[in-house]
Symmetry: C2
Subunit: 107 residues, 2 copies
DNA sequence: CTCTATATTTAAGTTTCTTATATATAACAT
DNA sequence: ATGTTATATATAAGAAACTTAAATATAGAG
């Protein structure tokens, strides 16, 4: 596991990227997907994820549909058209930032 | 300028890396160096930097020496031996994290 | 019948960051 | 003379974000 301060600040970017690639996803699914893609190196906590999802929904970036599967409620999140644009911006920004950070970290 | 949440969490890593490469530095110098290396894309704020420097000093990662240059006080920060080890860990961790993030962001 | 996995939510407390302010010197321009 | 910009550090109030923990609920495995 990476230190928490490094993971910090990438949550929104990760969420938007995953939703862009996978269409609709529910919260628990997002945490599992991130675990899988990172070989268990990044573990999103619910206390951080859900407030972020709710905030993005409030901002009009995400919409939700609740469905009951196996008697358990699932709340699916999808990007709105606004969210799709926001995801593009965030993804581009991430790569630019990463390039800049690599410059600093290789100086 | 990148969004604040992306810069978030990289402050400690940047400070430790710069001090490792440049020996002693003072706060203002760190902000200028980061501006320079990032082509003005990353601007560390004093309100974030100084509390972090003070915290690292308190943790025994940094030591300080004050000098007066041109009638202005400068407080030079350097890595302790503990800080040197901490810098190594943080730098390695950054590159590992970056690799993992790139996997997620390229999925 | 207990533990683990699935699934979401909230709330208290802590940390961290933003923004603003205070203090001080010096160089340069008006 | 006077104001602006650059240099240099520090602190404090408030906001934002995260950590940790607890609450609620179903289902399968041992």
């Amino acid at each position: 596991m990476y230190s928490k301060d490094l993971i910090r600040g990438t949550l929104r970017t990760i969420v938007l990227k995953l939703l862009k690639e996978n269409g609709r996803m529910y919260g628990y699914e997002i945490t599992q997907k991130v675990k899988e893609l990172s070989s268990d190196q990044i573990s999103l906590t619910f206390g951080a994820l859900y407030p972020t999802l709710h905030k993005l929904e409030k901002e009009g970036v995400l919409t939700t549909i609740s469905e009951v599967v196996d008697h358990r409620t699932r709340k699916y999140y999808s990007l709105t058209s606004k969210g799709d644009a926001a995801a593009k911006v965030k993804i581009d920004e991430y790569f630019a930032f990463s390039k800049t950070m690599n410059l600093i970290m290789s100086s």
